[in-house]
């Protein structure tokens, strides 16, 4: 733990158990965490909090993850924030669709909290380097 503010991760998932699980483990791993339950909340939180990374579940009620990602990537204020797509759908074309929407990486559920933290760290360091 450093004095420098820990990176803020926005966890977007409509399934409470999964959302809180990832949030808890990210906090355990030293990150700050914000949560959103659907696309609309995700966009609102992203604009107000400007997180360092967004974990975006794609299947969401109301505005879905693809749509939210497109909105954020189209906005100057949020387009630089890396978006890691999370999905339980492993059918052909799912990851391709996520990339088209502007997601920076793609993780298939089930994903162990540990593996997810590894991916989050990788993306953040890539942004720093970039």
């Amino acid at each position: 733990m450093t004095l420098e503010a820990a990176p803020l991760i926005l966890v977007v998932d409509d399934y409470q158990d999964a959302r809180e699980m990832y949030a808890e483990y990210l906090q355990f791993s030293g990150f700050r965490v914000a949560e959103a339950r659907n696309g609309n909340e995700a966009v609102a939180q992203a604009f107000s909090l400007r997180p360092d990374l967004i974990l975006m579940d794609l299947s969401l009620p109301g505005m879905d993850g693809w749509e939210a990602t497109r909105l954020l990537k189209a906005d100057e204020r949020t387009k630089h924030i890396p978006v890691v797509a999370l999905t339980g759908h492993a059918l052909a074309g799912a990851s391709e669709g996520a990339r088209k929407a502007g997601c920076d990486s793609f993780v298939t559920k089930p994903c162990l909290p540990d593996d997810l933290v590894v991916e989050v760290r990788r993306m953040l360091s890539a942004v720093k380097k970039g």
Binding site: D17, E24, A92, K109, P110
Partner: protein, 537 residues
């Protein structure tokens, strides 16, 4: 008075145009009428030729008289004389009658009747008769020929006159209409019945308004007199008219219709059979069309059901993943010590939850794979890679299982194997599956993984050979079916979905390759993956 009578006598005999002569017993001329004198008398002043002609006539007459006297006949005889006036021949018939006179003695009265014209007429008549005879012969020949022709026609032909009386018939007609003396009563009745039927037909024609050249047709039900077999005939009759339009004859041909009727009957039967056949074909075709339609619908329904099943399984596997993700996640967090240190027993129990959760995950993934392959939605990512490198990777992945099995796994790579162009992830998945199976079904011995290359057909192979329980030949195909293990009972010894080999075979097929099996019970099995080693074009 005597003189007057004498004059009258001469007037009478001179008036007779035939020469009349009276000769004495010696043939000397006593009296001749004027016509006789022209033939037998000539004066000194007459021409020499005429005198000679008269002389010749006298000689011929005398000869005739003497012949008549010798033969003693009273019959007329012919005498050819010469006309002294023009030299033409004259033929006479001589009738000589002997007369007795008390004073003059026996004399002969001869009357010469000129038959020159009669003779000529007779000759003419004879000639004409000859001609007639020849003509008649010709006609008879013609008629014979005609009869021959008519008789040679198989159909009965009857010629009747204008009153309906039969003039001519050929042999076949005679069989129907002529009474033979030897036949019985019933045949006679039949002939009479035939005759009556035919007469009725002819009278219909004669009374009817049939113009020249017109044909009257009718059907008559005759019978064969010999067998009483019915003979339905078609009668075709035509009138024969003279130049002036008078009816001279009616010619009728009777055409036996039995054959035609039989043929028509056969044709009807044939037609009926054909129609029935056609109806059957139509029915069969309709049935086939119905069946096809049914099959088509069933195929669509099946396809829909299959799609729905795939969609359902895809959805379900997603639904399974969501809670399983939480189970595995929280188990993992607890094991990571997120909630603080764990008692060893708790940790051991959490590890059981974790390993079972992972197993469940594998099963769900396999179901999802099958679903994706069936739906044709299995994503393929083709690239060039070294097949030799995959073997140690697979062994690393399965290291915990290998360690637990206490079996030795011997890898052999192929140094001359070129890079293969395929889906690296899928090939690896197949090898993982084959090695997992080998480990699962082998209790002692070892496992050999051998990479090979066949340059002839440019194929790469990975053979996984075990010393396991083996598979009996009747199960060699079954084990590749979905959800299939050799032991499918609920109490089976070996776990798994039974989808592994089914997935492997489908993946191999999707990659243009195949999986083959050699196995003997109790000796072991060798599963070989063969894929084309095509490099990217």
């Amino acid at each position: 008075m005597l003189r007057r009578e004498r004059a009258l006598f001469f007037t009478i005999i001179n008036a007779v145009t035939d020469p009349i002569l009276l000769t004495d017993g010696e043939g000397r001329l006593i009296v001749a009428n004027a016509r006789a004198e022209k033939l037998f008398a000539a004066g000194e002043e007459e021409s020499e030729w005429r005198q000679r002609a008269v002389e010749s006539n006298n000689m011929l007459f005398s000869a005739a008289l003497s012949r008549s006297a010798v033969e003693g006949t009273q019959e007329a005889r012919e005498l050819l004389l010469v006309d002294p006036s023009d030299g033409s021949n004259l033929l006479f018939e001589v009738l000589s009658t002997t007369v007795e006179d008390p004073r003059e003695g026996t004399g002969v009265v001869s009357v010469l009747r000129n038959i020159t014209d009669l003779r000529r007429a007779t000759e003419q008549l004879e000639e004409n008769y000859q001609k007639l005879h020849v003509a008649e012969a010709a006609v008879r020949a013609e008629r014979d020929r005609l009869n021959l022709i008519i008789d040679s026609v198989a159909d009965p032909i009857i010629v009747t006159d204008s009153t309906g009386a039969t003039v001519l018939m050929n042999a076949p007609a005679e069989d129907l209409f002529t009474l033979m003396s030897s036949v019985g009563e019933s045949a006679q009745r039949t002939v009479q019945a035939n005759d009556a039927l035919f007469s009725s037909f002819i009278s219909g024609l004669l009374l009817g308004e049939t113009g020249p050249g017109e044909i009257r047709r009718g059907e008559i039900g005759l019978m064969n007199p010999a067998t009483t077999e019915p003979i339905p005939v078609e009668a075709i009759a035509g009138k024969v008219l003279t130049e002036t339009g008078e009816l001279t004859a009616v010619v009728t041909i009777l055409h036996d219709r039995r054959e035609a009727l039989e043929r028509a009957g056969l044709y009807e039967q044939l037609k009926a059979a054909s129609e029935e056949l056609q109806a059957r074909v139509q029915a069969a075709t309709a049935e086939l069309a119905t069946q096809n339609e049914l099959l088509r619908r069933q195929a669509i329904e099946l396809e829909q059901a299959s799609r729905l099943k795939s969609q359902f399984l895809a959805n379900m596997s997603h639904e399974f993943r969501t809670p399983l993700n939480a189970i595995l996640g929280y188990t993992h967090m607890l094991l990571q010590g997120v909630a603080g240190d764990l008692l060893p027993a708790v940790k051991r129990q959490l590890q059981r939850i974790d390993s079972n959760g992972r197993h469940l995950m594998t099963i769900i993934n396999e179901i999802l794979d099958i679903t994706r392959i069936e739906a044709g939605k299995m994503p393929m990512q083709l690239s060039e890679f070294n097949l030799n490198e995959l073997v140690p990777e697979v062994m690393t992945e399965l290291d915990p299982v290998i360690t637990r099995s206490k079996l030795t796994v011997t890898p052999t790579v192929s140094p001359d194997l070129p890079l293969v162009y395929s889906d690296r992830q899928k090939v690896k998945q197949i090898i993982v599956n084959l090695l997992s199976n080998a480990l699962k079904f082998t209790h002692e011995g070892g496992i050999a993984i051998t990479v090979g290359y066949e340059p002839r057909d440019r194929t790469a192979t990975v053979a996984v050979k075990d010393t396991g329980i083996g598979i009996s030949p009747e199960h060699h195909e079954k084990i590749f079916e979905d959800f299939r293990q050799v032991d499918n009972s609920p109490s089976r010894q070996y776990g798994g979905t039974g989808l592994g080999l089914a997935i492997c075979r489908r993946l191999a097929t999707a990659l243009g390759g195949r999986i083959t099996l050699e196995s003997a019970m109790g000796v072991g099995s060798t599963f070989t993956l063969t894929i084309p080693a095509e490099t990217e074009q």
